[in-house]
Symmetry: C2
Subunit: 324 residues, 2 copies
Amino acid sequence: MTLASPLATRVLSGDRRALARAISAVEDRLPGAAELMATVYRRAGRAHLTGITGPPGVGKSTLVHALISGHRGRGMTVGALCIDPSSTISQGALLGDRVRMGGFHEDEGVYIRSMATRGTLGGLARAAGAAVILMDAADLDEVLVETVGVGQSELNIRNAVDLVVLVLMPGSGDSVQLLKAGVMEIPDIIVVNKRDRAGAAELAADLRRTPPSGAGGAAPRPRIILTDALSGDGVAELGDAISEVRGHRTEQGGVGAQRADTAAAVLELALEQVREQLAGIVEDGQAAALLDAVSARRTDPGSAAHALLEQCFGPDGARMATAS
Amino acid sequence: MTLASPLATRVLSGDRRALARAISAVEDRLPGAAELMATVYRRAGRAHLTGITGPPGVGKSTLVHALISGHRGRGMTVGALCIDPSSTISQGALLGDRVRMGGFHEDEGVYIRSMATRGTLGGLARAAGAAVILMDAADLDEVLVETVGVGQSELNIRNAVDLVVLVLMPGSGDSVQLLKAGVMEIPDIIVVNKRDRAGAAELAADLRRTPPSGAGGAAPRPRIILTDALSGDGVAELGDAISEVRGHRTEQGGVGAQRADTAAAVLELALEQVREQLAGIVEDGQAAALLDAVSARRTDPGSAAHALLEQCFGPDGARMATAS
């Protein structure tokens, strides 16, 4: 009953300043943040959550901008979370107090938030997942999450969203190779942006030939959409494709699939908590003697890892954690 | 004193079959594997450890092949570990008993091992790190580790090697963008392979203009080497560059830098142990009721993560882990 209860009520009523304060509370791990999340989560689950991912420079921010405009045109309220350190949205947020994104800062129906990586990626997935839940609970209809990512990325927010749109452009050969090799998880939709550039049609054709199974087994073949986010060409078609995939997903969504997603999300969240705690021990210098012993080869990394877990969880906890 | 002691002695004497058995013991978490690692680690630390990373299709396997030939030509013994699921080396290993890699299977001075990802990435970093230590302890002069990776990858073995070579080719636009955006860690050396293809010189020039600081702060500007791994062009120059970087690293290598590397390695290893344990609990269905409660929004993911940590570490351990 610290800050959680009244703040939760204000978030749930759609108060944008309360939403901003709640996200900051989670980012900064303020007392009461966990209680706040427990309270709002029961009321979340109504928003459409879409991840927009891809390498830097392909035009993700412009596409997010165009999607926001489209949603607003249909009278939907929109939240956008940007956790891509290379994004123009993030850079805008870092440069000034107000996110100046095509005038949306004067639109009460749009809430834009960017999340700085603070040089390290620790805790980012946790904070981003919580921010998505808060936006959802704050009565926003559509939530877009922009992340940078190619292959397995620590900025992966797949578990926090309903579906993932991968944005590529002519020249995205590495991403195509990762998809073909089955190293990269198959997204629900692949956008070939900058469709007027040389090679766009070839890229789309190449992607259509790519086998539909990604890392971790069979996946449905992704929809391929060509866009020019700057002029808006193809963005309406993308919006329709997102709606169709979501509709199909809702029809098909058995309990099993949902539980797998939930399991992955909870597992990552638990690991993130452990990571923050272990990193704290290391950064505080509490493990210095241990690390020196590894460097001097008096102990091996595996034994040192066990000792570090003992420092964090106590002897019983570490024994439970490492017993096979 | 299970299998560890006699097997360790045989590994340290350079017995290749013992080395293979030891790596399998670690991969399969056999009893005694931790003791084995503790024993051999004291005797490791003599080998040169080089990571070869990059997206699929750029020619990493061919380059590893060429580097092995070069090392053999100078009378060095060589170990190669391939943990790239898209690699032709891995595929060879999966298709048959014998790794057929240009005739090296008849050369006693070469030990090649590939590590399957088994559909999931859990435990791979741990097993790969241990395999590198075992090869080092087994009296191999040079150890090459081939991994797929773009940006932050779970296949990252940076902490297990002395230096990292990133291999790109014309068309690797996504990787260049990740480097420029500071999202990707800066490697020590960047190889532009397939140097005869259109765009190779432009790619090298573009990389030379890329700012030298990567994610996590300033890094020295990487050396750029153009190669054609298939014909061998530029491979000798790459070998020289690797030696120079390693020599420079050894001169500069203060205790501080070494401790940071060790800390990262131990931290990742500890997290890997926790990940395996938590994943086991989830896969065994022990957390099913908890996950159903999240799906039904009776509890939130953060509370569920805490409950999962309690299941793993006991109430005291979980409290220690999540106290701020």
